[in-house]
Amino acid sequence: MVDVPLNILIADDNKSDRLILAAIVKKMGHKVCVAEDGVQAVAQYHSEKPDIILLDVMMPNMNGQEAALKIKSSAGEDMVPIIFLTSLQDATDLAKCLDSGGDDFLTKPYNKIILQAKINAFSRMSKMHYTLQQQRDLISDHNEHMVHEQEVAKAVYDNVTHAGCLNLPNIKHMLSPFSVFNGDVLLAARKPSGSMHILLGDFTGHGLPAAIGAMPLAEIFYGMTAKGFLMDDILREINSKLKKILPIGYFCCVCMVNLSFRKQQIEVWMGGLPDFYLLRHDTGQVEKLASTHLPLGVLSSQGFDSKTQRFSLRRNDRLFMWSDGIIESRNDQGDLFGETRLMDIFNGNQDQDHLFDDIVNTVNGFTGESGKDDDTTLLEVKMVPEADVGEVDIDMSRGMITGPTDWNMRYTLRGDTLKTFNPLPVMLGILSDVPALHGLSGQLYTLMAELFSNAFEHGVLGLSSDLKKDAKGFAEYYAQRELAMKSMGDGQVMFEFDHQPTKAGGLLTLTVTDSGDGFDYVGKQANQFSEAGYSGRGIPLIVSICDSLEYLGQGNIVKVTLSWSAKGLEE
């Protein structure tokens, strides 16, 4: 007797033959259902769902071969073994039985032992087929579940990594992930000063393991940029975070750019990425920017070098950045796209506005149907007037009127701290506790940055602002700045903040005192410092932000006031 009885259909028009077959099958412990012709056999197949069918070839109404075809076509992917019963001897006739969907045949006179062996064999095969189907469905369910989980995770991931300003009119970008998750990351955010931080990263590998590192990277990038931190601080923070969390051998090739619309310059830090191209609008010439650092997440904080390269960018100059997925994409012959083909696109270009699309189309045309094997990312950033990208969008969701309104604070930076530390995020943080000032943090950041740089560079270091008139002078200025920093002895810059409530809202007074020699401001003050030479100190910009500006002492003290009105904010 068998462990699990099967349901076996016997279809034979000959009653005595049916009796013998039924006796054999029942002896084995299986259940039997019978049919007298092909039509009944098909009907019984649908109603009794037999596990195995014994089907006579020659039957009235519908012969066995026709019945087999019908049964096999309704069975679909379920396995229903059919054993033909035949007294046919001719090899072609027997082969025809198998061609019409039969799995085996049994010749008359029936042999009990052979039939039992065949039923056992097909029973094993059916069981295996069923197990296979179950496991396939299980795998398919698991896969569906996993894809669903990945999609949910992807939504979270996108919320974190795509919070930036990639939609600004001076940016074109293409992110083309190899799988659901992208190991390439592209971030852009406005700084409180109005400048823009851009970061293109390519993590080792692709898919989820590569993408997961992008979450902390994006958090740090957006959080610190909004608070006014400089590239230097942000890169250090990201590097030490990635070093801490990524497994050995995993890292992130990164290019970070600080794009200043006002100064018309970019500051670039590149580690591990292929050369980027800077396209000059006027001449159509291409300048290459090469990586000068190791990727992020490799070096310890002590070994990390945040030195940047500066380039001046005129209006409509463009910076092209990409992950290695572009250069290393392959066609169906396995050839690399390569840098020569990329350079050819630039050389052959007639219209700079179409260059981005040309690159995308050429790369896609090259890879064709061969499919990609890495994440590919392409970015174009154009230098435009700041007005084209609009005001910095500051989160005003916090309350308006509450918070500290009556307070005074002094913050003095001395010696090495003055040289190396950026005090702006800390000071902006304190000012932002006054909700109305939080909404003005863009202007406040610019204001403090200009005042601090005047106090430190022109005051403490004694550099002349005249130098910064042209591009050549710019380089000279930075060279002198390096020298002056090295030889600088004692020196200090003191910020004094005073905030008082007024009827309408509040009044902020900021006094910045430096230890330098000052300058001859009398007379210049009357005409609002509009003469040439003072623009280098950003004074027109400062005046445009605050209500009043006043130099005191020998010119080493500057005092600005800025008032705000609750009514104005509510509107």
Binding site: K15, S16, D17, I20, A23, K108, P109, K112
Partner: protein, 110 residues
Amino acid sequence: MARLNMSQIDELKDLMEEAFADLVETYISDCEEKITRLRDAIEASDAPLSAEISHSLKGSSANICAEDLSELFKAIEDQARQDTLSQIPQPFSDVQDEYQRVKGALQNLL
């Protein structure tokens, strides 16, 4: 060849147990009906029908271990399939005689 293959029929009896009598009865009534129809079909020179009936009788006779009888039906089926009913080697009465002997032998076993 034998009228009844005795070793096979013993196995069949073991298999069928008490249903063996029922099997014999079923076989006999089936044969009598079909042999009559076969004779009519041959007389009417209906080759396809003759082939169908003799094929069925060949199979059921083989299963009941009546080897000689099965061979006789096979000879008829072969001729019917070639549409040469007139060339059947034995007269039909030989088939009927052999059937009667098988029937007797089977009934003796009950």
